[in-house]
Structures are given as structure tokens and as C-alpha cells.
């Protein structure tokens, strides 16, 4: 607010610290409270995150775009009928609806022989992430995976899906491995973060200990190219060692944990010698 009284110090003398962290520091104060602009910035960020959670999965749009690229896809539904039950019953989001399971079984009978990798896409907690990142990620990934000779399933879209639903999809398709692209729980400053979960020898009932995760795929986070590189690494290693999960260390990760270029390391100014 323009007419904030001067003695209330709503601009902040330590503002320059902001370049050291993405945290909401140096917000200033009016009395002891948040100034109006900081207060409304927060509300907008939360609103964006909430909208991402409740945004409906535009599977038609995604299927249309996939078919433009000559990529087959199949739309399935989890056992969770709607968003409210999805949020309260994680068990339902982990399983396919019986009708979807039947559809998938029929597909597998018509296309026997299995595949190396089942590719699953689920809305998860942010359809926004899936809308934004599925196609660009897949085109980067599939270009390389085809060159390496891996066979992949049609893109299996699952509405109201959780991570573990990919195990059932992979098992029904007779896939050697499965990867699910899923919207992660939106953070206040990251409503569109995509997560990739990878499982070797997928079966219903596996726990997270059998999965490897590549998280934070978004423009401000992990790049499509790096995510594709790490997924291909996991596929090769999983096939070589016949396992995935906690026992399959993601060595590729070590080289991708670069410092954020926007926050150069200034050392610790609180401890430097005066």
C-alpha cells in the first residue's frame, strides 16, 4: 500500500538477502503484520496451487496431441470415482477401475509379447504439471529410447491415478519395466512439478522401496533432457541388475544436482570475518 506509514518500516533494510534464497524473507512489516502486497502474493500462490490440485485432467486434449504425433494412447480410470474420494482414499487411486483393467487385458491379448517399458501418465495431484510437461518430456525421451532399441507401450492415461497404479498397468501389459509421469503435490511456488516413478518388474502390491523417483521436472527445476537421461540410465541399470528401488542407486543423479544459478554461493555472511 502506497500510504503505509513510514515508521512502520514496510520496506526492509535487509532486502538484499533475497538474492541468497528463494524463501520469502525480508517481507517487511506493518505493525507486526505482513504488508498488503506480501499478503496478497501469498494468497495468489496458494490459489494457484489449489487450482492445480483441482484442475480436471484434460485427457482428450492430451490424446489429440499424441495422435497428431502418431503416438497411440489409451484412456483408463482408477478406482477413485472423483477428486474428493481420490484425496481421501489413496488405496482407490492405486488400483484400476475393473472396467479399465478389462480394457487393458483385452489390449494385451490383442498385442501379445509384452514390451520393455510401459509408459503411464496420471494426473496425480497436479493435472497442470501433466498438461505442461508430458509431450515435451516424452518427445525428448522417446527419441533416445527408440534409438537405443527399447520397445514401449501406448501412452496409458489414467484419470485420478496414484503412483502405484502403474504397477497394475505394467503387470497387465506384461511390461519388463514401467514409468509413470504424474503431477506432484503442488508447492506454493511450484504448482506444475512433474514426477517420474520407475519400477522394474512391476506387480500389484509393490511398495515405494521398489521404485526410483525422478522429481521436480519443470522449467524452473529438472530439465526434460536431464530427466530423460536419468530415466534411460535407470532402465539400463535395472535390466543389468534385474532390480529397481532403494538398491539401485541413481548415480546419474550426482551429476545433476547443480547449484541454482540464481543464488550464487556467497559463503556464510553471518560467519565471515568483519
Amino acid at each position: 500500500m502506497a500510504n503505509t506509514p513510514q515508521h512502520d518500516n514496510s520496506t526492509n533494510p535487509w532486502l538484499e538477502l533475497r538474492r541468497l534464497t528463494p524463501a520469502r524473507i525480508a517481507l517487511g512489516r506493518t505493525g507486526t503484520s505482513l504488508p498488503t502486497s506480501a499478503q496478497l502474493d501469498f494468497q495468489y500462490a496458494h490459489a494457484q496451487a489449489r487450482d492445480a490440485v483441482h484442475l480436471a485432467f484434460d485427457h482428450r486434449g492430451l490424446q489429440a496431441q499424441l495422435s497428431e504425433r502418431q503416438r497411440a494412447s489409451l484412456l483408463l480410470h482408477s478406482a477413485a470415482p472423483d477428486r474428493d474420494s481420490y484425496l481421501q482414499r489413496p488405496d482407490l487411486g492405486r488400483r484400476l477401475h475393473p472396467e479399465s483393467a478389462r480394457q487393458l487385458r483385452e489390449h494385451a491379448q490383442a498385442n501379445p509379447g509384452g514390451v520393455d517399458l510401459a509408459i503411464v501418465v496420471a494426473d496425480g495431484l497436479s493435472a497442470l504439471a501433466v498438461h505442461r510437461h508430458t509431450l515435451p518430456f516424452l518427445s525428448r525421451f522417446e527419441e533416445q529410447s527408440a534409438a537405443d532399441g527399447w520397445s514401449t507401450s501406448p501412452v496409458i492415461l489414467v484419470e485420478q491415478g496414484r503412483v502405484a497404479v502403474a504397477d497394475e498397468v505394467g503387470e497387465l501389459l506384461g511390461a519388463k519395466m514401467t514409468v509413470i509421469l504424474i503431477g506432484e503435490r503442488p508447492g506454493l511456488s511450484s504448482p506444475d512439478s512433474l514426477g517420474l516413478y520407475f519400477t522394474f518388474n512391476p506387480k500389484v502390491g509393490l511398495t515405494d522401496a521398489y521404485r526410483n523417483c525422478i522429481s521436480n521436472v519443470r522449467l524452473e527445476g529438472l530439465s526434460y533432457g536431464m530427466a530423460a537421461h536419468r530415466l534411460l540410465y535407470l532402465m539400463r541399470e535395472a535390466c543389468r541388475r534385474q532390480l529397481s528401488g532403494v538398491n539401485l542407486k541413481d548415480e546419474a543423479q550426482v551429476h545433476t544436482l547443480e547449484a541454482d544459478p540464481h543464488t550464487p554461493n556467497k559463503g556464510n555472511f553471518l560467519l565471515s570475518k568483519p
Partner: protein, 464 residues
């Protein structure tokens, strides 16, 4: 196992065990529905509360909800029960106990003496037939005071854990959030970092850094890096300065196993912390975090409702004379606590039950973006817990934890509670804030200094 029958008018309700009465008497929440233990409708819920109100407290000493033979937490509860402390209420039913707690007979002194005589299940049971105002009123009578370098839990005080998390543990980024918090008068409970990476070398580096900051600026607070207790033990063995020993705990042996701990491991951590003798005012040094739903999410709840499981975690906590215990109430997500109403009630239950058992309770007043909750709900819970006399809350920049991706109370929120409720920081920290010129507080009102404290002005000048 006893069965309990309760008749209201024409309708007769039957409950096959104490565990079932407790679960069905629990105010509605998503986690109990998920576990399949909740009442099937509101009528059955209140009937279960009526049945529960008629059960003598002594019955809780004879019917364990989780068998003694199967669970070391049950064994701890039974084996450490203090019968003489229990004596003043041993003739009461759960309903009679609620009346007693609200009466003048229950005051700070009598409640302190009673704590070792209560089991977590008794505390959970009475909380289930208490309204929000009852949970606030009784908790407000209780003080649980602990000491390390500062004094927590005194009447008229509200402390904060300064939580300067950073997505990649960048030292300068962490330091920026620490300074921001200190300049808003936060950090008397501890400066406590959730590390992004869990390697022993980076944990040790963070511990060294916090220790150096606390020493350099002579801050009467304590440091904590929230890593697994075995990692803290390893850090201590390496000679790294460590104040508070952290661990997440739950209310069943199997749930604790899913965290990779048991009572023995916790004892080793406690003893390792004690061996350093770093507390200047006292040696309360364990810092535990808990939260409703953790046992269920580990599939380790034995059919016991989530609020009762949570209360059992406080029996684990109190065994190690903790500095602070934090119920991270809204972090776990909507499948356990669906909305603001459920989170608010759960936070007040946890605070009340913990305090009744003699545990120095704080609350991470928080929510995730997929829960039906917002800042207004957190303001409500913060205000209620402030009135209830909570020992500490979190303080982070602008309510936004950029590492853990959830929202908790901000530095400003703590100032709001201090100002409106007339609550001050811990006395040692209050004196430090006055000495450095950050702020003074009289009659509730906070008066900030006119200028940045010289020591911090100098540090900022380093940035150039």
C-alpha cells in the same frame, strides 16, 4: 475383552472392545474412515462417547488396546505407570474425569502431580468427549517447563523454532533465513533445519554452522538438524557440536520400526546427547516430532484410531525427558486430516493430551496444498493454541517452506500471537532481543529498535 453396550432411547449400540469404543467415539476424521475404524454415523459416534464416558479409568489398566506381549510401547506404558500418582482420580469414570479436569480441583499443581499416573489411552479417551473449549481450558492450566540454554513453557511465554530450510542446504541461503527470523524476534525454541540431503558430512557441516552462529552472536537458543537419531549419534561420535537430538516417533512399536527406531535406539541417542553436557540451564535435549496418521500410514495401527495412536507416542516421548515435542498436525495430508476443521481439532487434542501427560508440547500449525485448509484455518488454530498455552510453534519466512513444500506459521504469525495474547519469548531470549536492540515488549506491545543491531549490520555489509 470386555464388550460395551449403550442404550439411548430405543436404540441399543454394542461395541466389542475398548479399542472399538475409542475409535468410534473419535470425532470424525478421514484417517479413521480410511482405516475402517470410524463410527458409521453421527448417532453411533455419540453413543460410543456415552459408552466411553461410563468406563472406569481403572479399566484402562486391565485392557490394553495393543497387546502387552506384541508391543514395546504398551509395555513401556504399563511398566512405568505410577499408581500413587493415579490415586486422586482412580475412582473416576472417563466422564467423571472430564468433570474433574474442568473443576477447580484440577490446577497447575495437581495436574503436574497427576501426569505420571495417566496412561495415553486415558488422556485420549477423555479428549474424545471434550469440546474445543474444554481442550483449551484444561491445557491452559498446565505448565510443562524444560531447559537447555533457554527456558521453555513458562506461563505467559510463547517460543518459536526458527526453521530456515533451503532446497539444497545452501549455507548462505540458510543464513539469510536465520537472520530474517532473528530480526523478527524468532528462534528462542531452537534454530532447527530440515536438511535436504542426509549425508553425514553435510549434516555435520550444518551443525558446525549453527553452533558457530549461536556462539558468535551469543544467542541463548539451541541448534538442531533434523536427521535420523543414528546420524546424530554418529555426528556426536565425530566430535561435532550438537545440542538437540531429533527423531520422528509414533505410538506403536511397528510404526517406530518403520522410522528405523525403537526404545533402545532412542535411549542411545539420549545418552549420547547427555554425554556432551552442552545445556547451560538444564539437560532436556530430545526433540521429537509426531503426528496423527503416522501409525496408519506405516500400516502399524493395530486397528486403533489415529488420535489414540498419536497419544501413545507421547508416552514414548516423556520417557526421555524431552526439551520439546512437536505435533506436525497438517503435514500428513487430507487422507488423514481432510480439512481445516479436522486439523484444528487434532492440533488441540494433541496439545491437550501431551500436556496432560507431562510432555512439553508444541505444534507445527500447518497444511499442504491438497488439504481443504488455508491461512484462515491456521490463524484460528494458532490463536486457540496461544490461548491454550502452547510451548512453541514454528517460525519460517512468509509461511512458505521451500524445502518441504508445505505452509506453516511465519515469523509474523508468531508476532501476531505474542502481541494479541501478551505472550513473550523465553526469558533468556527476551533479554537478548532487548540487549541487541531488536525489540522490547511491554504490556503485550512489541517495540522494534530504530536501527539494525550493529553486529548484524556488519554481517550484511559483508555482502557488498
Amino acid at each position: 475383552m470386555a464388550s460395551f453396550v449403550h442404550t439411548v432411547g430405543q436404540q441399543t449400540y454394542r461395541f466389542d472392545s475398548l479399542k472399538e469404543v475409542m475409535a468410534k467415539a473419535s470425532p470424525a476424521r478421514s484417517g479413521d474412515f480410511l482405516a475402517g475404524v470410524a463410527a458409521s454415523n453421527d448417532g453411533e459416534r455419540v453413543a460410543a462417547q456415552m459408552a466411553l464416558a461410563d468406563i472406569p479409568l481403572t479399566h484402562f489398566l486391565s485392557e490394553a488396546l495393543i497387546p502387552y506381549e506384541e508391543d514395546e510401547v504398551t509395555r513401556l506404558i504399563i511398566d512405568t505407570h505410577d499408581a500413587s500418582a493415579f490415586a486422586p482420580v482412580s475412582h473416576l469414570t472417563v466422564g467423571g474425569f472430564r468433570d474433574w479436569l474442568l473443576s477447580d480441583q484440577a490446577d497447575e499443581t495437581s495436574l503436574r502431580a497427576l501426569a505420571p499416573g495417566l496412561t495415553p489411552e486415558m488422556a485420549a479417551a477423555v479428549s474424545k468427549i471434550m469440546r474445543v473449549q474444554d481442550l483449551v481450558l484444561v491445557a491452559q492450566k498446565i505448565r510443562v517447563v524444560t531447559r537447555f540454554r533457554g527456558t521453555m513453557g513458562l506461563r505467559g511465554r510463547l517460543s518459536t523454532r526458527l526453521q530456515p530450510n533451503h532446497p539444497t542446504d545452501e549455507p548462505a541461503g540458510i543464513a539469510a533465513s536465520i537472520l530474517d527470523g532473528l530480526l523478527y524476534g524468532n528462534g528462542d525454541a531452537m534454530i532447527g533445519i530440515n536438511p535436504a540431503t542426509d549425508s553425514i558430512s553435510s549434516i555435520c557441516a550444518l551443525l558446525e554452522m549453527l553452533d558457530a552462529i549461536i556462539q558468535r552472536y551469543e544467542i541463548p537458543t539451541q541448534a538442531c538438524v533434523l536427521t535420523h537419531v543414528t546420524t546424530s549419534i554418529e555426528a556426536i561420535n565425530r566430535g561435532v557440536p550438537l545440542d538437540l537430538v531429533f527423531q520422528s516417533i509414533a505410538g506403536t512399536e511397528a510404526a517406530n520400526a518403520s522410522f528405523g527406531v525403537n526404545l533402545n535406539v532412542l535411549k542411545e541417542g539420549y545418552e549420547a546427547g547427555l554425554s556432551l553436557n552442552r545445556g547451560t540451564l538444564g539437560q532436556n535435549l530430545m526433540y521429537f516430532e509426531t503426528g496423527q496418521g503416522s501409525a496408519l500410514s506405516a500400516n502399524a495401527h493395530h486397528g486403533v484410531d489415529q488420535q489414540t495412536c498419536e497419544t501413545r507416542a507421547y508416552a514414548v516421548a516423556r520417557h526421555f525427558k524431552p526439551f520439546l515435542v512437536n505435533t506436525v498436525v497438517g503435514f500428513i495430508g487430507p487422507e488423514y486430516l481432510y480439512n481445516g476443521k479436522q486439523i484444528i481439532r487434532a492440533g488441540l487434542e494433541d496439545h491437550f493430551c501431551g500436556k496432560l501427560l507431562g510432555v512439553p508440547m508444541g505444534c507445527d500449525i500447518c497444511y499442504t496444498n491438497h488439504a481443504e485448509a488455508d491461512q484462515d484455518d491456521m490463524d484460528t488454530l494458532l490463536t486457540l493454541l496461544g490461548v491454550a498455552g502452547i510451548n512453541f510453534i514454528m517460525g519460517i519466512p512468509g509461511s512458505d517452506d521451500i524445502m518441504l513444500n508445505y505452509q506453516t506459521t511465519s515469523f509474523h504469525d508468531a508476532l501476531y500471537a505474542r502481541q494479541t495474547l501478551g505472550l513473550k519469548p523465553a526469558p533468556e531470549f527476551e533479554a537478548w532481543l532487548a540487549r541487541t536492540g531488536i525489540f522490547t515488549q511491554a504490556d503485550g506491545r512489541i517495540r522494534f529498535g530504530d536501527n539494525l543491531p550493529p553486529a548484524f549490520r556488519q554481517a550484511l555489509a559483508q555482502l557488498g
